[in-house]
Symmetry: C2
Subunit: 342 residues, 2 copies
Amino acid sequence: MLLTVGKLARRCGMTVRTLHHYDAIGLLQPASRSGAGYRLYARADIERLHRIQALRQLGLSLTDIGTALSGPQQPLAEVVDRQIAQIDRELSEAANLRERLVHLRTQLTNGQSPDLADWLDTLELMTMYEKYFSPEELKALPLHTDPDVQVEWSALISAVQSAMDRGATTDDADVQILALRWMTMVERGTGNNPEFLMRLHAMNENEPAARAQSGITRALQAFVEAAVVAARLAIFARYLDVHDMERMRANYGKQMYAWPMLIADLRKAMEENTSANDPNVQKMAQRWMELFRAYAGDSPVTHARIREAYAKEVDLRSGSAVDNSLLDYVREALAGLASTTH
Amino acid sequence: MLLTVGKLARRCGMTVRTLHHYDAIGLLQPASRSGAGYRLYARADIERLHRIQALRQLGLSLTDIGTALSGPQQPLAEVVDRQIAQIDRELSEAANLRERLVHLRTQLTNGQSPDLADWLDTLELMTMYEKYFSPEELKALPLHTDPDVQVEWSALISAVQSAMDRGATTDDADVQILALRWMTMVERGTGNNPEFLMRLHAMNENEPAARAQSGITRALQAFVEAAVVAARLAIFARYLDVHDMERMRANYGKQMYAWPMLIADLRKAMEENTSANDPNVQKMAQRWMELFRAYAGDSPVTHARIREAYAKEVDLRSGSAVDNSLLDYVREALAGLASTTH
DNA sequence: CTTGACCCTCACGTAACGTGAGCCCTTAGC
DNA sequence: GCTAAGGGCTCACGTTACGTGAGGGTCAAG
């Protein structure tokens, strides 16, 4: 049942070198080694490899994959759900490109000169094969449909870039104001949809051309993220003691992109009227607590203070798609868990 | 109508840097420059870019793309046809993977333990997403279905590797025998189908895991190709004079992978009973002559000698999928061209 | 014992850009 | 004419995820 590296490589259509590399960077380490030092991969390693491959196909770098896999894990079934959704988008996009190519081909064989704008659109589709938004989703994306949002978004990006250019730091008051405005704009531009946020993020991460167009360079993205964290920590500081703030500084923001995924899944379950006592919902609630505890620690006093902060400060929640009904839903699921535990 | 580099990049979903790079390596150079040195891209550049993008999606390296685009060009309509066929294969593969993932998800949500072999198959599909052969095509591929062919293929690869290991050169008689046997095996393993040859080649070029499995390393591939050329030049030397051989040595084998593409297209037209006087067939015949002249020069005397060599030496044709009916077809198309020219 | 297939670690190299720097060009508005 | 914003130029260092080869040990079958 344990597989050596060559066997695993062959079965997965990968190379031994790749698996060596993943071991070396700590991404996928074999369950054990034989007496002779041979790597021996077990079933749990296959599961982890599945997660890795799924994230790779979403375009994450190996470093980012490592980060994503270092926190509490989504059930594999949910990973597979996302894969299926991605394939559906790709199927749709491939069909779209196919249609365009058939049209182009018809023009070419009829001796017609292809319309240049159309042709360039087709070339764009050929390049940006990765599919981030379906046509329907684009219609529901304010950032794409609302000119006001677009103008404000551009201005905000410019303002952040200016702050960076003049050497401002993420602790500067004006930068923190920009950061909070960023989260508000994210909320507005995505229609407060965490799934869209993740998609936009993936597109910007994966596509250099998208970065060039949006002006959101890697440096700017990192700056804003750090500024958002700093701004929110400044707010938390009004509610927490020094000890708590130390832990927050070390951990808050570490799973920044795990939260939207979980929130999207929970909102979906809630919108489908799935009972809070459903085992899957309870699992998600559990993961919520794990992510929460990762920065909040285990003290009920601290938890209460953080909750107070969330309740009073809208800036702690902006852009997160967390509202009171979702919080109630999570609480109900957690209550169900507590009662089944005792 | 002329586009600056930024405009073209934006319209095509590419980066300025990429276009700079293509210019720098001579792959896509703009039609002109403004007085200030700005790159200005014209319509013909869009067409060339389309070709580049299509080949990139087939997995060719930029160097190989440059080589492919340095010879006589397939009509763009045919390039588009190949793209459409590739998309169809990808659609089919995506649907296949989707089905597998749905099955896996069902198992996971039912609390079942996924079958390991099945799971690994799914992982392989996730990795080898690129689609090289449809299930039907695999059934028609002797290299995949015929154990005898597999055994002989493996033995031949080992024999070549041994020759390389002991420092043999491509001019050694035993190496040339191996080379000719290689072409015979290619013919047998692909069922003499040039489309399959190209697909196998692409798979081996693009997939390190495939190389690891087949044992056909890049070095071995290059060695065999050079040996095939050397073996065939040795045969031609019996028919051609010193001057002709000089030109052959410089040019024969340069468009090694353009020929199978053209031959596949011509065979398809012939099998569909397209008249040799059809303009598209005549265009293909023209390209045949261009590719031929690229190594044969323009002298009718030399042409006759080369044709004599092809007629008498089966080793010059093995693995090429060129038979007498195809040659007649090409000749008929060329004759039609000659009569419409005068 | 021999041989072939497989495994180990080590380490240099690669392709296709990504990114930033420093400076010039173009256009619109004052 | 000047200024500012957006776009262009060339130069050059850096990056990610392995690919490849070297040298040597292990395992299983004959």
